[in-house]
Amino acid sequence: MSNASFLSPARCPEPSDGGTPVIAFSNVYISFVGPAVLADLSFTVAPQETRILLGPAGVGKSVLLKLAMGLLRPSHGSIRLLGDEVTAMTERQLFPLRARTGMVFQESALFDSLSVRDNVAYQLIQERVPDLEVDERVHEALRFVELEHTFAMFPGDLSGGMKRRVAIARALIRQPELILYDSPTGGLDPVTSTTIIELVMKQRDVYRTPSIMVTHRLQDAFMLCTHRFDTTAGHMVPLPEGETDPNTTFLMLDQGRMIFDGSLHELLHTDNAFVREFLE
């Protein structure tokens, strides 16, 4: 892993307030047709905290992320994102707020008619940033995900893993104050998955950006918790035996409800039958 510089310490997002959660769900409920997809959901993400959201497929993990960004509206409940009440905002008011966050979609969601450069620079182009600066920042973002050579390529020319990495570069280019990863390793081979997790870890440890990462792959979740990114070596290294990253904690959903919220240690020692079954 190369050591990227596109988020120099001076440009690194500062937490708005030491203790104020970056995101806070309070008694959130959403249903489409039929029973609730998510019910009575409450949790927070603190500044610099990484929350790993676990749960079986179809339990509402992606819905939760879309709620956090205001892409979906809850039936009732409160969602505060970067201090603003998302549920009380109009779509138009939400756009500037969303621009302060980054989201990596499950299937990358790259714009297939645009080049990698234009995908990564999408926000900058809309903000009419000069071309030279755009190119420079895109190169830096692509260097961060080790895909600088794809600058002029199109999403159709990339493999699944490369698309995810480009999606990460797109989400990070504007130095977001919160990043949401929706199953960034889903459907990828173990080697590529490890590369993606290393990028997530790098973002967490180097730039301290708070995040929520949805996954149903326990090995990815545990790796994120038991390793740290070594900036000197340029790759991830395991934490000493028995240590875990204190800022990386777990959430777990089952049947639309939050059944676990705690550290890796608590997760491994919980009495909840479903969690135990999931872990086994």
Binding site: K66, M69, L71, E91, R92, F95, P96, L97, R98, A99, R100, T101, M103, F105, Q106, E107, A109, L110, F111, D112, Y122, Q123, Q126, R170
Partner: protein
């Protein structure tokens, strides 16, 4: 059971109309407030205008030719073949030019808009755009509506001109009539109300084509099958609405500006 189904269908229809009205109004209102995406507007103008020029040109030419063929046969019974030029030009400019161009462009562009936006919806590209802080309605829909309204008007002019030339070709080369007589008839009996009627209709048709195409695209669900369904719905709805609105507009415009 049957009552429930009728009830549900009626509610669905009302809901769809309500959704479309809000969607179309918002997209239109965006034309008058920043940010405006001029590059997207120009790209769409090229796709709709330049891209459709060939089919509009050909369909206009042959429609004019058919009009001349059909009308001259009937007019000959009254010894009035001399008025073929008048008949072709007025029919093309008032009615067939705008409607045929609208339907041709609907088939080509309402479908492409629905399928393009529909594909973006099912691959989460629209959500990604929203997540990146960009309004898809403003970025994708409004430029398409603006470009289609303006370009359809120019395409209609092209279709009208080609139709008149098509009629001239048939009149001169097949019916052996005089070209000067054809064109002077075509020109002399054409009045401003005819032109205004022909130019107002494409404004409405353009709005219908783009707003319907984008509306069905943006509400696509159900993967690739859903994209196909949206495309069909867009073309069918846009074509029917063009003819229906043309009927209403003709009635209104004939009342406001009776033929001279």
């Amino acid at each position: 059971m049957a009552t429930n189904r009728i009830d549900r269908t009626a509610k669905d229809i009302v809901f769809t109309v309500q959704e479309y009205s809000l969607f179309a109004w918002q997209a239109f209102a965006n034309l008058f407030s920043p940010p405006r995406y001029w590059t997207d507007f120009m790209v769409q103008a090229d796709i709709v205008g330049v891209g459709s020029a060939a089919i509009v040109l050909l369909s206009g030419f042959f429609t004019g030719g058919v009009l001349a063929l059909q009308s001259s046969a009937t007019l000959a019974q009254f010894g009035a073949t001399a008025v073929t030029g008048r008949f072709v030009s007025i029919t093309m400019i008032r009615e067939l030019g705008p409607v045929l161009t609208g339907i041709m462009v609907a088939g080509r562009n309402a479908s492409s808009m629905a399928s393009e936006l529909g594909s973006m919806v099912v691959t989460e590209q629209i959500d990604a755009m929203r997540a990146l802080g960009v309004d898809p309605l403003r970025k994708l829909v409004t430029p398409r509506i603006g470009a289609t309204i303006i370009m359809l008007m120019f395409l209609t002019i092209v279709a009208d001109a080609c139709g008149i030339f098509g009629g001239a070709a048939v009149t001169v080369f097949m019916n052996g009539q005089d070209a000067t007589q054809y064109f002077s008839e075509a020109y002399e009996f054409l009045h401003y109300p005819d032109i205004i009627q022909g130019m107002v209709k494409p404004l409405f048709s353009g709005y219908i084509i783009a707003s319907i195409g984008c509306f069905y695209g943006m509400r696509t669900y159900g993967g690739t099958e859903g994209v196909g369904r949206s495309t069909i719905q867009a073309v069918v709805t846009a074509s029917v609405l063009i003819i229906f609105v043309d009927f209403l507009l003709t009635q209104v415009l004939l009342t406001l500006m009776p033929p001279l």
